[in-house]
Symmetry: C2
Subunit: 344 residues, 2 copies
DNA sequence: CTGAAAGCGCTTACAG
DNA sequence: CTGAAAGCGCTTACAG
């Protein structure tokens, strides 16, 4: 591979001049520029990133850690982030955290060692090791989708509570009174906030909270399926189900089928998170969609600002609004079970 | 940040000794090892990757270029690749090529400049610039899913022709004679080979090829939708449709709905490529599934072998077999249209 | 078994 | 406007 010295020799100048030309510093005489350019072309010179990084202390690479890229939500986020970083001339080093296989803390350390100028993370949940690893990191961090509270880092997240509230209010508006929630884990901000929004809505509609309608899951398909099935088979089944994330929604759909019921005739289903092909699902899903593109872009520009400014962090999280997209998975409750909750 | 010199000072040894300890060379006296370890812990020392790379000429990073990570097929591939690289202690620099926004050639150059030890690519199609960029690359390359013929690089791909042949044979076995194909572009190996498999099957079953049943698309949903709709509205509609990739399948499903038909009663649909949630689709899709995990893993181990051995490349592509998963989107043709092709 | 020193390929004051 | 030289943080022969 060609080095700067080789180019300098070929052009009959010093390496300082080559460097100036490569970096577009306009201090070099036009005639020399031309000669250097020729030499670069002739030798096929490519600047060496490691040498540059070593000297400058910048890598031009941003690390990204997400839980699971097979989840279309994160796939789209990563896609948007990559495009935004590309535009800003950053490379993206991606770590996918197949839930638990590697601790996210270890991923942070690996990325730090490999060299990044900044980091975007969707944390799995409350995790002391991760907190410590992020604390030890000297580069700026931006949380996306989920955040670690009081970490002082920037964050771009949905207003999950408001979005969940609106979704459940919609179900109540259709006449449902027995509305179940398939909740995510409470040590994750998204899990916690979506449950809070559900409770807000019930309270606002004067619907008593029935413990039997609260199913805890771990944002996994199997959890969603098992919990939903158990609830459907119980003696106090719901007429509507609010699923707190996309993957659990799939589980719920399968459970409804397992139970021999059909949606939305027997039970309504509302999904937090949309799917790229929600309209070829059976049923076509009514869901809360998140502004994924804007989430990814804002996270990137926040991070790039921090990298450039080396400024202090933590303006508090940027909150985006979700949007309820009404398709065909929710109907008013079946007549014969209307108000069942009051009679039990 | 702590440097090796600082650790050496703290431990009262030379940096050569620190380096030996860090790299686990067992030439250092145990007592010194302990002292160095303490100093490392005390200073919070992290080795500097740029310096290491500059000295050793290895980055410990592999570049990955895929067309579109929102496509679940590529999302899963990337996921598997990341896990495999992680196990082998490589980082992954990912470029997503939102079809055409950036040329893949440019991505290759960017990755090369940033520093990679090897590259895994799913090329978009025939592309001289990409060929040139790959040719100029001094690091080993492995193609995945699609390949650039005669490039001399390794590749891991599906036996697309055989898989397509089997799929179409299945449709013919159900009694279909008017089987349409929604084909991908012919400058991509997957597009070409799947069409060839379709033709093979028709020939084997002595079914005449009807040009009107050949729809060209660009592996996009819109193409799939438009082409399918046009064909369904024509005066010689098919009784079965073979879609050559996942995204076009979605388009086809929507077109069938647009046309007021229902699948599989009015028309059968067979998809090349499965979806993670194909069984909550309406209809539940019968599809050709690819061994994605094994594809990603073989690509990684091939690449890592090459990187380690710096050996010569090009053993010819590794071919994996697809599998037909039968769900509910294919039925025998409707009675009233059986054999329509012969009467037209 | 350990250390002093060269050198990987750049950038950037500093002279001229 | 241009060049000689130092130095970024490592690794690795080479002495001792």
């Amino acid at each position: 591979v060609a080095t700067m010295t080789m180019v300098a020799d070929a052009a009959g100048v010093s390496i300082a001049t080559v460097s100036a030309v490569v970096n577009g510093k306009d201090v070099v005489r036009p005639a020399l520029i031309a000669r250097v350019r020729e030499a670069i072309a002739a030798t096929g010179y490519q600047p060496n990133a490691a040498a540059r990084t070593l000297k400058l202390g910048r890598t031009g690479v941003v690390g990204v850690i997400v839980p699971d890229i097979a989840n279309p939500f994160f796939a789209e986020i990563v896609s948007v982030i990559q495009a935004a970083l590309d535009r800003a001339d950053y490379g993206m080093m991606l770590c996918v955290n197949a839930e638990g296989s590697e601790s996210q803390a270890r991923q942070v350390e690996l990325l730090a060692r490999r060299g990044i100028d900044g980091l975007i993370v969707a944390p799995l949940g409350e995790d002391q090791a991760l907190r410590a690893a992020l604390g030890a990191l000297s580069q700026p961090v931006v949380f996306i989708d989920r955040l670690l509270e009081d970490s002082g880092a920037d964050a771009v997240v949905l207003d999950n509570r408001a979005a969940a509230r609106e979704a459940v209010r919609y179900l109540a508006g259709l006449g449902h009174r027995r509305i179940a929630i398939l909740s995510g884990p409470l040590d994750v901000t998204t899990g916690r906030d979506r449950l809070a929004g559900y409770q807000d809505a019930l309270r606002a509609m004067d619907i008593a909270v029935d413990e039997r309608l609260l199913c805890m899951g771990n944002f996994t398909e199997n959890d969603g399926r098992a919990a939903t099935l158990a609830m459907l088979m119980s003696d106090a089944p719901p007429t509507a189900l609010f699923s707190a994330n996309n993957v659990m929604t799939i589980g719920a759909m399968k459970a409804i089928r397992d139970a021999g019921l059909s949606c939305p005739q027997d039970i309504s289903l509302l999904s937090f998170d949309d799917f790229p092909w929600a309209d070829v699902f059976s049923p076509e899903l009514t869901s809360v969609v998140q502004p994924v593109a804007s989430m990814g872009e804002q996270a990137c520009s926040l991070l790039i600002d921090r990298i450039g400014a080396r400024s202090s962090e933590g303006q508090g999280p940027v909150m985006l609004q979700g949007q309820l997209v009404i398709r065909k998975s929710c109907l008013p409750p079946p007549r014969d079970r209307l108000g069942a909750s009051n009679e039990t």
